[in-house]
Symmetry: C2
Amino acid sequence: MTAPATARSEQTRAQIVEAALRLFRERGYAGTTMRAVAEEAGVSVGNAYYYFRSKDELVQGFYDQLAADHRAASAPVLARTTDLGERVAGTLNAWLSIAEHYHAFAGRFFAVAAQPGNPLSPFSSASHAARDAELALWDDVLAGSSTRIAAQLRARLPELLWLYQLGIVLFWVHDSSPGLRRTRELVGRSAPLVARLVRLARLPTLGPVVRQAADLAASLRGS
Amino acid sequence: MTAPATARSEQTRAQIVEAALRLFRERGYAGTTMRAVAEEAGVSVGNAYYYFRSKDELVQGFYDQLAADHRAASAPVLARTTDLGERVAGTLNAWLSIAEHYHAFAGRFFAVAAQPGNPLSPFSSASHAARDAELALWDDVLAGSSTRIAAQLRARLPELLWLYQLGIVLFWVHDSSPGLRRTRELVGRSAPLVARLVRLARLPTLGPVVRQAADLAASLRGS
DNA sequence: CCGCGCATTTGAACGCGTTCAAAACTGAGT
DNA sequence: ACTCAGTTTTGAACGCGTTCAAATGCGCGG
């Protein structure tokens, strides 16, 4: 954010964001110009740039909004079941439901986010608030589950599940099937598998492998 | 490619590609304009567009070149060892060695490639030749290995290893450590783990899980 | 009321990716 | 040599993201 908040500036900012997200949905990202956003918001182009450093930054709201809504939308399934597979699937399906309004411009969003150093990147320090919120959500998925989890793995599982989610998201971005059916199927098939792997991780035979995987996940974090 | 080949056109094309890759390396992708590429190649801007539909398409050569070079660079390690972990690590390290010249603009390349429908996407039909070449390489990594592999998994492993490679590449793109040290460490730690998981996949206890994972990998392929 | 400093707004202009009509080139056939 | 058709080349112009100097608005203190 490039400007400190006053009542007037907050209103202008909100108008711009609202206009942008509406036009992105209607026309796609590429089909929406800054001139159109400014006009729709009732401000000048330069004014839009006073508040947002770039067109790409206009989609920041999408990311933050998603993370906030994800937790709320996941609450029902997390309250209802202790089955790990169901909790994982439910949490992912909650995300899919919220995100579907934005599928039209998700490709652009993730393309931008994939660039190193970009504040929108899920791995960037600028996104740590949203990322931490997601990690906390996955921690809750695990905490409320009846599945016994290998001790060395437990601390790393929120991150591994978050990475799993990113994989689902990547698949979703590329999914052009009606109703995003293929992504939902992928969730339906992979979540039980994930739950099963988590359970199997307690097998003594797999102890060394689990330890290695946990160490590896830890090293991904190293900065 | 937008034009049929004649000797003259091949020469012009080559000049443009050469100029582009040189400038991308020197100035990065964003710092290189099409006007600069055209001037460096000794042609007009419009002429550059006669051969390449967009600035992004100029990096197609990078992708194709990588896939071709990867096989050649992997040959020594594949001839030397039958240990699966070593073959996997060697194959990935070969890629890293070839690709390092292009690290400066890799972020842009992958950002573009991540967009749905983009011909540069590793998942697109336009990239199937390069993708098939990579899959064939991973098949060779497995075929020349002494590790016994679970039958239901074998057919799917080239793809799974390719996806593993994409994960490494994604990490590499974001790696700013000296000499891309962290990526090399990731390879060094994950390749033995992968080899171990492949071996463990033969355990009867893991049979159902392996079958499920193989089915899942197959469904990722759907249409 | 005026002046000041800061916040907000403006819109012309800039640079860049890209387009496209027209010019120039090339090789084959008569 | 000329004509024709196809290929290659050109560079001005377009649209878009973005910038920035100047104008306007606002609140506070004297």
